[in-house]
Subunit: 191 residues, 2 copies
């Protein structure tokens, strides 16, 4: 998607080691207009999958998932990384390695909001190694839901997440696909 690619080139920073800083418009400061456009694009691309609920992970997935949910008129559930006191005693929990944190993080969803028979669309900010998204897939499956699509704002194709998720045989969409971050550059390929 042109608008997102242009924004990445203008305001994104290649910090080396495959780390893309997008704190200017996604991860710390958020551009609501850009997120709105991205949410509309996801809604178009996943219009046919029959989703009944959107699942994401706190924190950075919330903005794109919320805007996608608005355009698809679907509720959004964000997996928590710590269990708040308002959550029931028994929950769905999985662990996933966090690239940027260098440790395992927990992903927790209450059975109240992820139930058998849901058709779940997963939306997140990044598709890199795919480990967070695989964690969300496990949560959905544990609940007896079916994952019907996966969307990420930014894909780093050189980290292999798409291949790791290919066995699901569902549509995977990214709005900006980075094929290389070598030599301080940011190079896009086909989405």
């Amino acid at each position: 998607m042109q608008a997102l690619q242009e924004r990445i080139l203008r305001d994104g920073r290649n910090l080396g080691n495959g780390i893309l800083k997008v704190d200017n418009f996604i991860n710390h400061q958020v551009d609501p207009q850009l997120m709105d456009v991205c949410g509309r694009e996801f809604a178009n691309r996943f219009a046919h999958v029959g989703a009944t609920r959107i699942l994401t992970a706190e924190i950075s997935g919330i903005a794109p998932a919320l805007m996608t949910g608005m355009h698809m008129r679907l509720p959004v559930v964000y997996a928590r990384k710590t269990k708040p006191i308002t959550m029931p005693d028994t929950v769905y929990l999985t662990v996933a390695p966090s690239h940027t944190k260098g440790r395992l993080v927990e992903l927790i969803v209450s059975p109240e909001y992820l139930q058998r028979g849901e058709r779940v669309l997963i939306i997140d900010d990044f598709l890199a190694s795919g480990s967070t998204i695989q964690g969300l897939v496990r949560l959905a499956q544990a609940a007896g839901s079916e994952v019907v699509g996966i969307g990420a704002l930014i894909e780093k194709s050189f980290e292999g997440g798409r291949q790791a998720l290919a066995h699901l045989k569902i549509p995977i969409e990214s709005l900006a696909c980075i094929v290389s971050m070598e030599d301080g550059e940011i190079r896009f390929g086909d989405e």
Copy 2:
């Protein structure tokens, strides 16, 4: 605001000890349409304050802040609770007691996105004791910004946050003001 009050009565849960569970539509599952309506309402109420930026705290403040930012066409900055590797070495950091976590949490903002001379509108999910919002006010002031308004989806007036913030002499708006949660009830007063 009628829509939010009705939703609290329908889907909110009074867990006792002043704890209101709104995981069905704000804090775990999010209703994007409701957040959109709330964001538009904040945009109307704060149309006159001349805000240049919206500040909130992760995690639950992001949804209402994002929708407010969309309607006001302003960037949204969410204070982080842990410092990600993409953040510069030197940041604005304050600590605030968390009611629901029972401990101090850090609130961190990068100087890149909060600068001298900004007119900051603070948006959060709850106004209870006001301690998180006071933390956000300190961050804005540390950056040399001026806080020009404070908006919360839900106010628990019996916890005194509004009084704690009164010295700022700026508009404080809540969309649903709960005056009592005694005896398992949820009673609203004037916003």
